[in-house]
Structure formats: C-alpha cells, structure tokens
C-alpha cells in the first residue's frame, strides 16, 4: 500500500477543516484579537449579541472596534447611540471611517424603535445599539423581534448595556468586569489606559462544557492617542 503524498508545508499552513471554516464564516471579527479568541472567531453573524459592562469597563471601545472592523471590510454599519455620547475624534482614532457610519443619536425611549427601523431597512451587517448608562427596558417580545429581524436580515445586532436583558434571545454574551485604570506615575500621574476582565456568558448558540479559563480573557485598552 502506497503512503499518501506529503503536502507542501506552505500549503498545509493555509488549510483549515471544513467544519471550522463553516464556523468561521458564521462569525464576524470583533476587531480585537483577544476577544475573537474568546468568542471562537468573533461575534456571530445574523444574531443578537450582548455586551455588558459598567462605566469605564471598555464597553464602548469594544463597540467601536467592531464597527471599525465591519466598515473596513466594506460592510454597512450603524450606531444607535442613546444620549449621543460618540466622540468623533476617538471613534476616528479607533479606525472608524466616520462618513461610512450611520449614527443615530436618540433618547432611551426611542432607541429600540430606531434600531428596529435600521434593522428593517436591510443591508446593514452590523447595528450597534449603545444604551450608555440606561438599563434596557424592552419587553421580551421586543428582544424576540430583534432576534428574528437579525436572523432574517443577516445582521449582527450588538447591544451594549450596563445589565443583561435579552436573555435567551442573545446568541453571544460578553460580560466585562470593572476596569482597572493604569496611570503612569512618573512624576505627575498620567492616565494610560485600563485593564478589564471579559467573561463569555452563556448565549443561545453556546453548547457543551467549556473550562473557566476558556470563558475568560483579559483585555487591555490604551488611552494613548
């Protein structure tokens, strides 16, 4: 019996299993390598995802990274921003091509309606709903509507909020711990960035046992401009 011919190592390094490829196609890069590893390739496409964190947990930075990644890939992205807290200079520094971002600043009571309108338009690959400090007050039916809308339109709806609300409608959940700020204390203190612990919550698409280490990651955010 003849042995199978050895593949060129250069070619071998580019091979990927069909199952893994399918999984990768169903994910979108978060723009942060550590977070991609935690999520198994990125945020799931065509689904509702939650990003939970309090003030200064790095939640907005993660949101901007995802938006920058989507826009850079030629996808249409929208940010529904409760309170209009977007800082265009920081967003630009985070890699967002501002003219390609649909920004809707609104009050908390119409945020869900605004996001639903954008979702209904179709063609948007990523819709970030940034609730800021507002706790989500959407009824369960509203989350179910978002979930089905995301599936139908092939959109990732990424909800950033201080507390979890979508329940089983969310396909992926990332919970951020309180951020630990870093100050450079060479003479007068200088704010340098912060460190936050990200924990993968149990989403609707997550099955099977997973070690505690695999569910946690440490994220570092830089303040340098």
């Amino acid at each position: 019996m003849s042995s199978r011919p050895a593949l060129d190592p250069a070619l071998l390094s580019h091979l990927i299993s069909a199952q893994r490829l399918e999984d990768r196609r169903g994910r979108r890069g978060s723009g942060i390598a550590t977070l991609d590893r935690l999520l198994g390739g990125g945020w799931p496409r065509a689904s509702l995802c939650e990003l939970i964190g309090r003030r200064s947990s790095g939640r907005t930075a993660i949101l901007y990274a995802a938006l920058a990644r989507a826009i850079a890939a030629g996808e249409a992205a929208a940010l529904v921003d409760v309170g209009g807290g977007l800082d265009p200079r920081r967003a630009f520094a985070a890699g967002i091509a501002l003219r390609r971002l649909l920004w809707v600043r609104c009050a908390a009571d119409v945020a869900a309606k605004a996001a639903d309108l954008v979702l209904g338009a179709g063609g948007f690959d990523l819709i970030a709903l940034d609730l800021g400090d507002e706790r989500p007050r959407l009824p369960a039916a509203g989350w179910i509507r978002f979930k089905h809308g995301a599936e139908k339109q092939g959109t990732t709806v990424l909800v950033a909020a201080p507390a979890r609300a979508a329940g089983s409608c969310a396909a992926a959940v990332v919970q951020l711990g309180p951020g630990a700020p870093r100050f450079v204390a060479d003479g007068a203190p200088l704010f340098d960035g912060l460190q936050a612990e990200a924990t993968k919550g149990r989403g609707a698409h997550e099955h099977g046992p997973e070690s505690e280490e695999a569910r946690c990651a440490s994220l570092a955010f830089s303040c340098r401009s």
């Binding site: 964190g53 501002l98 912060l194 830089s222």
Partner: protein, 523 residues
C-alpha cells in the same frame, strides 16, 4: 413623427374629484359663479355621468340641480384644484417623455415615436398605458396618436382612444365621421356655416377644395378644411419639466388644529408622491406654503434627510415642523412644493457585501429623522474646532460597491498561529502595542458639577447622577482657543480622574468663570 395628445374632458369636475375622491361614483356637479354681475348666480358647469342620468344639466342653479337629484353633491372648483390637476396631467406626459408641450390646461402633447421600442404591441398599448398612468393620478383621459398636433387634438374631441395613421388618405378616412361641431370647436360661426352648407361630418368638409373654403370662410375655415383631410402644420414645441412639483388646496373653512390639518396634508402628499412615482422619482425637499386667515402666508421648508417616496414619513416630518412652530393663525389654504430627485441606483457586486438598498435606506433615514430629529441622523464628522465636545452630522452615504475593499478571508493566517480575523483592512483600531483604543462617552453639553479641591487638584465631585471621591487625578491639561471669535473664546483645564465609583471621568474647569464640568467617562 408621431404625436400623442392626452386630453382631460371636464377638467373642473376631475380636479374637484381629485380633491374629494370619496365623491367618485356618485352624482356630482360643479358649481361656478359667472364673472359679470348679471351672471353672478352660481350655476352648474360640469356634471358626472351619474348626475346626468339623474337629470342634472349644465346651466342649472344649485337649487334646481339639487331638486332634480336628491343625492347630488354640489362642489365648487378653485384655481388651486385646476392648477394641481393640470400639473398632474403634465406629469402623466413626463412619465412617457422627457419633454412635453402643455397646450391648454386640459391637454398635453408628447412625441410617442420612441415609445415603440418599449411597447412592441403597438400604439394601442401606448395609449392604454397612458390612460392607466392618468387613472393612478386621479384623471380619466382621452388619448389620440397622430402624425401632427392638430389631428391628434381633433381625434381626442371625438374618441376615448384613437390612432390616426400617418398617410394622408387613411388619416382622412379615420377622421371622416367626426361631426363638424367638433371639427370647428370653439368657433360656432364656422360650425353654423358648415351646417348651412349641408355638411354634417369632417368627411364632407374634406371633400371640398381647401382654397375654396378659405375664400369663403377665411383662415379658420381653410384650417378646418386641412384638418378634415388630416393635414396640419402647427409646430410641436416641447419643454422640460419644472424643477419642483406643486399640489395645492383651498379649504372651505379655516383650520386651526394640527390633527384635522394632517388629513388635508396627507391628501396633498399622497397626490404629489403619486405623480413623482409615475416619473420614477422621490421627494428630496418639501416646502409648505400656508395661507392664513384672514391674510398672510407662512412658508416653511421641511427638512428631509434623504429622498423618499414614503408618504407617512413626509407627513410625520411636516407634522413635526408644524408642531414645533405652529402657524400664527388658522389655515385657509395650502400649497405643497415637492422637489423631485432620483433615488440612487447601485450595481451590486457578487463578491462584496450588498449594503442597504438606496430607496429603502432613504426611506429609513427619513423615518429616523422624523423619529429623532433630522439633526440626529447621519454620519458623524469632526468639526473644525479644538472644543472636545464638538460634533456635526453630515449626510450618510454607504460605501459604493466599487469603493469597498474586498474582505479578507477570515481564516487567513489562523493556522500558522498568526492573528486571526481583525488583521489587514480592519486593523486601524489597534495601537502599536496591540491594544484597542479607549473611547470617551461624552456628555453633550458638558454637565456642570460641583468640585471639591485639595492642594493636588480635584478631590471629590457631585453631579446630577454621580457623586464620588477622586482617587487619582491626572492633569491639568490646558486648552484654550477661538480667542479670535467675539464671545467664543474658551480656556479650560482638563483632568482625568479615577473616581471612587470605579470609573475614569474627563472633567474640566472653565478658567473664565471657574465652573467645573463633567465631559464624560473613558470607556
């Protein structure tokens, strides 16, 4: 050349029925007052077929007509109704041709020769399509297609749909049965002369030599003789459509409240959009001119974020504007000016993300503008200032397919341990150290806070939602500018403070008045 003539019989009646569509199908008569003193009593001028069957006739007074038909609706026509109907008729023409000639208020002409490629079934299909489009804008029309304007006009007087051949012989035969009253319409003396000569139809007139008719009846007679033979030399002078489209209505009584006025506005918007839709256009701008009681006008431009053909959205935007700045007096008339625009079309790419469909995106942006205000929807942009909180909104445009970079395959580089997704075209978000950049969630405008200071700087602060001790304060970072602008000079000292609630806030002190403000928090 083949010229199509589109004629609206009983324009006044049809104009009134466009305004009151619920009256369609019932007995309706149009009442109009005469202009001189002796004829000032309003009389019936035009009547619907139902009213005619009930015995109503032109020339009756309102009381006489009502006595004949119990369920008769007597309506008055205004100049605004006529103008709107006439403009709608013009739009029917522009749905088929780039340029048209507007003859009288109730008639248009356009060149139909080029339409043969679009309607291979022939001119009957063209005429039927014109009638269908006219029906959609609320007009019942007669259509005739002939080699010249005059012949087409004559044919519409006699037929609902007429196709007159180009060749002189067949054209003469097609017109032969038209009565001489219609051949000499508008010139009763000429018609009477033909009758005196024993001529009954156009065919009889065509049998006489034209020069002989001209000798006895003048130029009008000679022209009628040529028309009866299918000969006409009236030039066709088409022109391009107006920049804006108008719909107007005069109200029977003043309206002071927004809710009932919305119904009026909805009707106007629906009619305007129907006309735009027939030309494959959307509405890019809306100007509402309100005529107030007893006098005065209120003109307002309703901001529209993107061209849309959605009536509910336009109505909501107009309502928001009216609610924000109510008119000073009750409204007795409205004139709507809609600015047409083409909805952007895109060529999709099989290998790249499709993006939102232009028409749906435009409608969505307009709806969002109605929901959150037009200044709150669009693409964010950095203003030309050093003020940190400054932000502006510009028109959002998704990337065109030819601008989009091809997305990298997600698995590239993963197998050999290099960075997975996020590399390449999306890497601008990461610093050289591989860390994503922190953002600041801003308060706009910055929230005024009470600040307690110690020798090192901020020690504690109290704001509307936040009260905290300051654990670490980094700063101050001095920023000043715009001293060259009268009254806008700013001078600030910024601090990054790690507060006892765990957050890192950006605060500043206005050095001109000493007050402290919370700009936002790092996140």
């Amino acid at each position: 050349m083949r010229i199509a003539c589109v004629f609206v019989p009983q324009l006044a009646l049809q104009a009134v029925l466009r305004r009151t569509p619920e009256a369609r199908g019932g007995p309706v008569a149009v009442l109009e007052a005469g202009t001189n003193k002796a004829k000032r009593v309003a009389r019936v001028t035009e009547i619907s077929p139902e009213a005619r069957r009930a015995g109503v006739r032109a020339g009756m007074t309102g009381a006489q007509a009502a006595a004949v038909s119990a369920g008769l609706r007597l309506l008055t026509v205004t100049a605004a109704d006529r103008e709107a109907a006439s403009a709608a008729l013009a739009d029917v023409g522009y749905a088929f041709a780039a340029a048209i000639e507007r003859g009288d208020a109730d008639r248009i002409f356009f060149d139909s020769e080029d339409l043969a490629r679009l309607y291979p079934a022939g001119e009957t299909a063209i005429a039927q399509a014109v009638q269908a489009v006219a029906a959609r804008v609320g007009l019942g029309v007669r259509v005739a297609i002939a080699a010249s304007k005059g012949v087409a006009r004559l044919a519409t007087r006699a037929h609902e749909l007429a196709l007159i051949p180009t060749a002189a012989g067949p054209a003469r035969a097609a017109l032969a049965s038209i009565p001489v009253e219609l051949l000499a319409e508008g010139e009763p003396d000429l018609a009477a002369a033909f009758r005196r000569w024993g001529l009954r139809a156009a065919g009889d007139v065509a049998a006489l030599p034209v020069d002989a008719i001209g000798l006895r009846l003048g130029p009008a007679g000679a022209r009628a003789g040529r028309l009866a033979r299918g000969i006409d030399d009236e030039p066709f002078v088409p022109r391009l459509p107006d920049d804006a489209l108008e719909e107007a209505i005069e109200l029977d009584y003043p309206v002071a409240e927004l809710e009932p006025f919305s119904f009026v506005l909805r009707g106007l918007i629906d009619r305007a959009l129907t006309r735009l839709r027939e030309r494959s256009l959307a509405c890019a701008g809306l100007t509402v001119r309100l005529e107030l009681d007893p006098r005065g006008v209120d003109v307002r431009a309703v901001p529209i974020a993107a061209p849309t053909g959605d009536a509910a959205t336009l109505l909501q935007l107009a309502r928001l504007d009216l609610a924000r700045r109510p008119p000073a007096a009750p409204i007795v008339g409205v004139r709507l000016l809609a600015l047409p625009a083409r909805v952007r079309a895109t060529q999709l790419d099989i290998l790249r993300p499709a993006g939102p469909a232009p028409d749906r995106l435009a409608a969505t942006i307009a709806r969002l503008a109605a929901l959150v205000g037009p200044d709150n929807v669009g693409a964010p942009t950095v203003e030309d200032t050093w003020r940190e909180e400054a932000v502006a909104v510009r028109t959002y445009e998704p990337a065109r397919p030819d601008e989009r970079s091809a997305p990298l395959p997600a698995w590239r580089g993963e197998a050999d341990g290099r960075r997975p997704a996020g590399e390449g075209n999306g890497a601008a978000n990461e610093t050289g150290a591989g860390e994503p950049r922190l953002a600041i969630r801003r308060r706009r405008p910055p929230e005024e806070i009470e600040m307690l200071l110690n020798r090192q700087g901020p020690a504690a602060f109290r704001g509307r939602e936040t009260t905290a001790r300051v654990l670490i304060a980094a700063g101050p970072y001095r920023l000043s500018g715009e001293w060259w602008r009268e009254g806008e000079h700013f001078s600030r000292e910024y601090w990054d403070v790690h507060a006892s609630d765990g957050a890192v806030y950006r605060v500043h002190q206005n050095k001109r008045d000493g007050r402290w403000y919370l700009d936002g928090y790092y996140d």
